[in-house]
């Protein structure tokens, strides 16, 4: 219900637009989780489509497009020296400013455990993902919208909603990534760090999905 000032009155809590975006993402995420549960599956199982993953392959083979094709992701499994606990594989998530652009930038990686649950966000090193490299300050301002509720593909909806729910943590992760590079690089162009084959991840952030959803959803639902 809208009041005379154009604001929505729908219960007890009060939130900013930023918080509202996060709340809607979390609601969409929970809805996607419920639908996945009813189908007795999870996003990775859906993407694998009943096949046994091959370490050489990416899933889905052509990548998963979402948010009006301004975001893409693929899932794969391979050995790395810095895997998350119980990691089965990970998503690589890329974005571009416009649908017509070929200038993809790697935004974040998402490690998934052996039962299909997200366990870690990570910022991959440049040699790992290539593409256009943007600083965190640029990405915070210029990433395309996610609108997870508009995606019909349940796995894409889950991923877009997860990104929206964790937007603050991802921003902080990218800031930490840039800080790591600044601190550990002796060259102005940072190529000594960017091309260091011993460094796969520049920053990482643990995920506790249940706590996060509880924090975002129940906090606002009980606020008054």
């Amino acid at each position: 219900m809208r009041d005379g000032r154009g604001t929505l009155q729908h219960g007890l809590g009060v939130m900013t637009w930023h918080e509202l975006d996060q709340y809607i993402s979390a609601r969409t995420l929970l809805s996607a989780i419920v639908q996945l549960g009813r189908k007795e599956t999870n996003p990775v199982l859906m993407i694998l489509g009943g096949t046994t993953p091959n370490m050489e392959h990416r899933y889905p083979p052509d990548g998963m497009s979402f948010a009006q094709d301004c975001w893409r992701a693929f899932y794969h499994s391979h050995e790395t020296p810095d895997k998350a606990p119980n990691e089965h594989g990970h998503f690589h998530i890329f974005a571009r400013k416009k649908k017509e652009s070929d200038e993809w930038t790697h935004v974040v990686g998402l490690a998934v455990d052996i039962v299909g649950q997200p366990v870690e966000w990570f910022a991959a090193n440049k040699w790992v993902v290539r593409g256009i490299w943007h600083p965190a300050t640029y990405l915070k301002r210029h990433l395309p919208p996610l609108d997870p509720h508009e995606d019909k593909n349940l796995a894409a909806q889950w991923l877009a909603a997860l990104l929206g729910t964790y937007r603050d943590e991802i921003n902080d992760l990218l800031v930490a990534r840039d800080s790591f590079v600044e601190t550990h690089s002796e060259k102005d162009d940072h190529t000594d760090v960017f091309e260091d084959r011993s460094i796969w991840k520049l920053a990482k952030c643990h995920i506790d999905l249940q706590s996060k959803l509880e924090s975002v959803l129940t906090h606002h639902d009980t606020a008054s």
């Binding site: 549960g37 694998l48 693929f74 299909g116 993902v129």
Partner: protein
Amino acid sequence: MKRRASKIIFGSALSVAAIAVAIDHTRHPLPEPIAVEQRATSADEGVATIEDQQSEEAPCAMDGAPCAMGEAPCSMD
């Protein structure tokens, strides 16, 4: 416009237990990935392995043809 104008009143009841149950219903074991070494052929027959590529190239890149195993190990190449 004052910051206060961008506030929205919102809310509904949602139990913590419901979130936990919903998540639990998506916990399903994933099939174990097949290692490259388990494939029938080997580098002797000219098949490049992911380890060969990772030594010099990017394993997760995404340029051009999205999601092929290109120069970067995790690129969109």
